[in-house]
Amino acid sequence: MTTMTDPPQASFRLSQLIYDTRYRSYTFQFIALMLLIALMAYLGANLVTNLAEQGQNIAFGFLTEPSGYDINQRPIEYDSQSSHLRASVVGVLNTLIVAFLGCLTATVLGVIAGVLRLSPNWLVRKLMAGYVEAFRNVPVLIWILIIFTIMTAVLPPPSAFRGEDSPSSMLFEAFAFTNRGVYTPAPIWGPGSLVVVLTFLASIAGAIYYRRYATKLLYDTGRLLPMGWPSLAILFVPAILVFFVMGQPISLEYPELKGFNFGGGIHIRGSLIALWFALAIYTGAFIAENVRAGILAVSKGQTEAAASLGLRPGRIMNLVILPQALRVIIPPVISQYLNLTKNSSLAIAVGYMDVTGTLGGITLNQTGRAIECVLMLMLFYLTISLAISGVMNLYNKSIALKER
């Protein structure tokens, strides 16, 4: 027998704040808020006392003062008379450079290694497994230091390139690997080179248009146009033609041994290369696992179904497997990019002047503005992280399976 009783109309008692689930959450939130405020107040009060005791304050005026130190890799104009702010901007650009290069290389390595880990070839499979395990299980800092050691202690000094029978020689007469960095040819943009570049840009648009057209034709009429070689032809033939018609306006400046060092060409420092390759190889190992997992996530039935429709293996990969695998692969890969960007702060270990090296390193030490510098540093990385994860959320939303 059940009886319904009216809910008791009792008035609010103080003990309900603890015992009654309706009010308990308010109690807890109130306590949490109070604790938080108390903690903040405590830390803030300490900060104020400490600063007052040391005669310091929180101010960002130091950013406009001359920095007084040199940065060896300058994407924008900078010298030791420039402000700390400009030094930080140089650092930010250097961070972005190494992050971009690293992400690009890591993707290539990761995709190759990930696909090869699923290869039917036993030896290749095991080799790639070895690569992935070796790099995933050893700290990236150690890899950075190992590659940096190769760059600085193993490669020959520029003087080894001197003379007829020098102990070292340049690769293809164009690349010099020395312990002061790598020298590569630099392009020289002569008059008329703009036309070549514009032609190339136009060919990219043309190639995209051609592929769209071919796809549309396929869907509308079922006629299959070849895709691969015409796109390549559209991409390169006009640009090469224009290049020669304009009288070869773009030439290369080769590095040359001048005095004690190489001159001309592009100088890539050992610290950049160490950081770039170490981050790329390390992150590549993680991306390889993501790629492998993504491909394995597409069930075998999909391949078989596509095959039973009569698709050729290449088309099965392109039209059936990859679109489904990419949905699984891309989100973790983007978070690996994020990790790579954050790990690029290890630049400080090899003296690459990224934002951690300038703002969080020399500027901090020179001005003693620890709080301001570390705060700005964190905000920079936070902005990048939030921006990337925002992009990722948008992407995830756009590819989410539209379930009905």
Partner: protein, 429 residues
């Protein structure tokens, strides 16, 4: 009908023939795995060539290695022009690599003993199905023993710390009938009160059963990496669980505190947090407090790891079907009970691979402390060892050794986690 009219048919069984040579044993395996097509065959040959030439190049370096020599120059003389490694640096600087350069020589047995006991303490957790549950008591005691062994000082300190924890647990048990949240708060407050009183009462017992104290700044080498790894991972697990639950909570204020904390920590590199520990944290503490760098680093790394672990566990919580939450509610369990008995056991099980990934990543990241001039193994190699007159220029042996140490540890952990996943699998296969 006579037999002659019948079409020919066999009247006896043929003996079983062996499969063709190309379809059995090693030949079949080679054909399928190495030479299934021309392209594959070429790939195999090319890969094998690369691997073999690397091995041939590295073999003399490894096997000619000198294991006993006082310095690099002496080692080069012994090699006499041959290619060979100077592993002597490892034997000569063995203690420095493991314990740092300031830990007192005669006390090496203490961290070593703590390291050995670590296995005894961790085994009951790792192999909980195979070892008696009573051994977990030792796991509970281990942090206090290890603290006493590594840092030294009077045994009263760890004992009082232990009693405080027990007292807190007692208070928690007694107040659990009110509500889990209240009980947790009461437990924490109880423990703190106990420690405060104990601190007053035992202030002058510093000499009681004291081991010679060792300051944190005298520690170094791989010991620091292990200590940071073990301490921070074990501390960050409970914090991570709390943060994950907080982020899933229906109370907006608590939820947003957790969200902001997690996203902030995950958005910045560990190095900036170490900078905070190194140069900023002191500003936020009462004037005159000096607690050592290692403790500040532990705090920051623990915060870092808890944010990541929280995200992993949140994934596990989200992966549970809603029915589990509803079933727990319909049984009349309150929030704490449903979490403890229904939700968390399943969510944690799903999260094991992720948690192990975070743990491995964190252990690798402990090398970053060398950037803020702590002498962990990387710091020791780059600082005192490579800068010394005897061993300036011996890179590969040292970095190789450090890489090997980390590889063995991390690979071991990930193998264990795969084994554990198989053990915990309860689905039908």
């Amino acid at each position: 009908m006579s037999k002659d009219n019948l079409a020919y048919h066999r009247t006896h069984m043929l003996p079983e023939a062996p499969p063709p040579a190309t379809e059995t044993g090693i030949v079949k395996w080679l054909r399928e795995n190495l030479f299934s097509s021309v392209a594959n065959g070429l790939l195999t040959v090319a890969t094998a060539y690369v691997v073999i030439s690397i091995v041939i190049a590295a073999a003399p370096w490894f096997f000619n290695g000198i294991w006993d020599s006082p310095s690099l120059t002496a080692c080069r003389e012994m090699l006499d022009g041959r290619t060979g490694a100077c592993f002597a640096v490892l034997t000569e600087r063995w203690n420095q690599l493991l314990f740092g350069f300031k830990y007192p020589d005669e006390l090496y047995w203490r961290p070593t003993l703590a390291f050995v006991l670590l296995f005894a303490a961790i085994a009951p957790v790792l192999f909980i199905k195979f070892l008696p549950k009573q051994l977990l008591i030792f796991t509970g005691l281990y942090p206090f023993i290890a603290y006493w062994l590594i840092w030294g000082g009077s045994i009263v300190v760890p004992i009082m710390a232990l009693l405080g924890v027990l007292f807190g647990a007692f208070v928690y048990r007694r107040t659990l009938t009110v509500s889990a949240g209240v009980a947790v708060l009461a437990g924490i407050v109880g423990a703190m009160v106990f420690w405060w009183i104990a601190g007053l009462a035992t202030g002058n017992m510093a000499g009681f059963m004291a081991l010679e104290p060792v300051a944190s700044r005298d520690m170094g080498g791989f010991m620091i990496n292990l200590m940071l790894g073990v301490i921070c991972v074990s501390l960050s697990l409970p914090f991570g669980i709390l943060l994950a639950l907080g982020r899933q909570s229906s109370m907006p204020i608590i939820k947003w505190i957790c969200v902001i904390f997690i996203e902030f920590i995950r958005g910045v590199p560990l190095i900036t947090l170490l900078f905070v520990a190194n140069v900023v944290l002191a500003y936020f503490l009462p004037p005159g407090t000096t607690f050592d760098l290692i403790l500040r680093v532990i705090i920051m790394i623990t915060m870092f790891a808890s944010a990541y672990i929280a995200e992993v566990i949140r994934g596990g919580l989200a992966a549970l079907p809603r029915g589990q939450y509803e079933a727990a509610d319909s049984l009349g369990l309150d929030y704490a009970q449903s979490m403890q008995f229904i939700i968390l056991p399943q969510a944690l099980k799903i999260s094991i691979p992720g948690i192990v990934n975070v743990a491995v990543g964190l252990f690798k990241d402990t090398t970053l402390v060398s950037v803020i001039s702590m002498f962990d193994i990387v710091g020791m190699i780059r600082g005192p060892i490579l800068a010394s007159a005897e061993w300036n220029g011996v890179y590969w042996e040292l970095f190789g050794f450090a890489a090997l140490l980390f590889f063995v540890t991390c690979y071991g952990i990930s193998q264990y986690s795969q084994w554990l996943e198989r053990q915990l699998q309860t689905e039908h296969r």
